[in-house]
């Protein structure tokens, strides 16, 4: 497992403030990854660390390589984490809310960097986030999760244009936008406790399009577009004639 972790796949953590070890210099923390996987000798590990810091656009990497994490800003720490993740040229990088803790301008820089690294190194990126804007800017394909299940998957463009699952639709509709001052289209209710899921589809108590089938059994995947799958009975061919047009929810969602 350790041969795969860090070498073949690497993880970028959510909190750049806590993911680095405060008592080691950042250069040593990057070098550790290289040494553990035998990608560098003690002699050239430092040079490689500096190279990596330069690759993630840290200015003056020669001096920052000897910094402790507390001497760096949040954005720079996140760059160090990205450098560590890229150290062994993994084919898969998992980024868990890599920009949630950062300011919006720094977030933009980090997303640009991730995108660049992705195309330059030809790696695959699994980006975990709650920010639909970040997804729209960065991802090729999306999977939407609700209460422990993937409720919809599809290419970014199609999923944003034509969301198949009422939850996806609700998420997109609840974003601020539209006419200023207007009420936002919130999804009513709250996410259920995982130990106490409702019968059938976990989203059914909050779903504007709920009908009889929704409470019977958790729905399997149904095709909701050319490359989209949604776990929703609205797309079950058995009910195709019986139910109203799923898009209707957007039009009928009147303010309380």
């Amino acid at each position: 497992m350790q041969r795969v972790r860090g070498a073949e796949s690497a993880l970028i953590f959510q909190e750049p403030m806590t993911a680095l070890n405060p008592v080691f210099r950042v250069g040593d923390q990057i070098a550790e990854t290289l040494l553990v996987h035998g990608r560098a000798t003690h002699r050239d590990a430092k040079a490689r660390a500096i190279e990596l810091l330069r690759a993630v656009r840290i200015t003056d990497p020669e001096s920052h390589v000897a910094d402790y994490p507390h001497q760096l800003s949040g954005g720079m720490r996140q760059r160090v984490l990205i450098a560590m993740a890229l150290a062994c040229q993994p084919s898969l990088v998992i980024a868990d809310e890599p920009t949630t803790a950062l300011d919006v301008t720094i977030q933009a820089e980090i997303l640009d960097l991730l995108r660049e690294m992705k195309s330059a190194l030809g790696l695959s990126l699994l980006l975990i986030t709650h920010d639909l804007g970040v997804i729209a800017e960065t991802a090729d394909r999306v999977a939407v999760m609700y209460a422990g299940r993937i409720v919809e998957t599809g290419p970014v463009r199609e999923l944003f244009r034509n969301p198949g699952h009422p939850y996806t639709r609700g998420l997109l509709a609840s974003m601020p936008g539209g006419r200023p001052g207007q009420r936002l289209r919130a999804i009513e209710g709250s996410v259920p406790m995982l130990g106490d899921l409702p019968p059938g589809c976990a989203f059914n108590p909050r779903c504007p399009d709920r009908f009889d089938a929704c409470t019977t059994a958790p729905p399997p995947d149904f095709p909701a577009g050319p490359a989209q799958l949604a776990k929703c009975y609205l797309h079950d061919p058995r009910f195709a004639s019986a139910i109203r047009n799923p898009q209707s929810a957007l039009a009928t969602d009147a303010p309380r």
Binding site: D103, V104, G133, A136, E137, R157, I187
Partner: protein, 292 residues
Amino acid sequence: MPLVDVVHLVKHFTRDAGLFRAGTRVAAVDDVSFSIEEGETFGLVGESGSGKTTTGRCLLRLIEPSSGAVRFRGEDVLGFSKRRLREARRDMQIVFQDPYSSLNPRMRACDIVEEPLIIHKLGTRAERHARVAELFDLVGLSPVHLDRYPRQFSGGQRQRIGLARALALNPSFVILDEPVSALDVSVQAQVVNLLMDLQAQLHLTYLFIAHDLRLVEHICSRVAVMFLGKIVEMGPTAALFAAPQHPYTKALLSAIPVPDPDAPRHRVILDPASVNRDAALKEISAGHFAAI
């Protein structure tokens, strides 16, 4: 007359001299002036460390400003005696950023909401309990929630408790310090709707401190952008978002991730050299000021 008038507000924090370093003085809020009209939502945006939270707290004197003036209905808040300040705070309240740490975990929800009424010695026990029930209803909590503890609530519900507590004394001015940034997108919309409903219903004036510019654009009538302790741009939201003038505002607006895969992206990166730190605010168009 504006409801709140902030004039040349300054807050220095001093770092005491230590064994190996001299004492330093940092201006967290550096000569900030703005005014808020009755009934409006005034947005204050900026990155972490730009001084927006400190500004908000200075208005209520939760932090004592170093110099400047804060006038509330024309009266100088900074000159208030302790007793007068307590009285004034009935009219100006704050909802804190983090609903997970701003509620006392050992108090029941009903006690948290009742506490301001007790502190201000309002009503009999029965009257207070009636008021708490009314507030719970107002913010969309049900009576079964009264006896629960904060940990039994979701983030959105906790923020509703914080809001009920702030509204208990019938304030006219509420400072909302990042009220929804700790909440999920879907819940965020619920709380934003609640804030807008309450404003219309109770004629509240809001100071909305936030870093989510999409939200600010949606609910604020005017907005001020803070950068390193100073206001660098201020104006009607629509004008400021349509034609940002200051390089920092431009960078900030271009950094907003747009939830549309086909939206054009023009990223503006802030060049620190392009910021003239000493520039004064100039009026660009009606009510739209920028320090360029």
